[in-house]
Symmetry: C2
Subunit: 107 residues, 2 copies
DNA sequence: GAAACATTTAAGCGATTCCTTAAGTATAGT
DNA sequence: ACTATACTTAAGGAATCGCTTAAATGTTTC
């Protein structure tokens, strides 16, 4: 598969509030790094570095457009988070039996 | 206080693989810290400190039983993670309308 | 080519993280 | 009381994190 080498951990990538905010902004529309940075009170290199982390986790992709680099959301790795958290969903929906079985097998 | 106290952020709390593993183990059944620690190749204080982070995030609760302290999962804070990740679910289920159709144009 | 623009890389700094060993607190059993 | 057990807190160190400013890279326009 021509592909996605998700080098870093998606759970760590989404741990930082600033990075979640960046994902939220990119979820609305793709945009160049400079425009994305306007929403944040930090330097441009800081934003670039956060985007590097998100890219390593596979959560954003980018393409070059002139002298801009346009970033867009790539939500696929979030599936792993969704799957993980959904194994615990049974606890707050009251179906605990299924969860116990699932975790028992996957140990 | 030393060691690590994470400041109650559930996203940071679940970022560490060791802590996710501890949650998985506590999802099967409650158990004292010492028994929980058997599954991990780290010192008892390290496990205790991880549990402290999970407790600060509200993900585990404990009760005293003799000289043991029995920990149990408290999954409620994971709702926040579930809610957050579900806002992105539309992207990978192909229903992009709600969050923007800009992605269709990209690449 | 030179200058302006958009972004990345480098270097560094203080704070935090994750672990360690040592010491402290608390409970139980003899 | 003494000892063993269960766990926590303290103290500290190596590695990483999140930011900064400065320098470098690449691109468009003049």
């Amino acid at each position: 598969m021509p592909g996605f080498s998700e080098g870093q951990d998606v759970f760590s990538a989404i741990a930082a509030p600033a990075r979640r905010a960046m994902l939220a902004r990119l979820a609305q529309r793709e945009m160049p790094m400079g425009e994305l940075a306007e929403a944040f009170e930090m330097s441009l290199p800081a934003v670039s570095q956060h985007l590097g982390v998100l890219k390593d986790a596979g959560l954003v992709a980018s393409r070059k457009a002139g002298r801009h680099r346009i970033y867009r959301l790539n939500p696929e790795p979030l599936k792993a988070v969704s799957d993980w958290v959904n194994t615990y969903e049974a606890f707050w929906t009251g179906k605990m039996a299924a969860l116990g079985e699932y975790l028992e097998k996957s140990e």
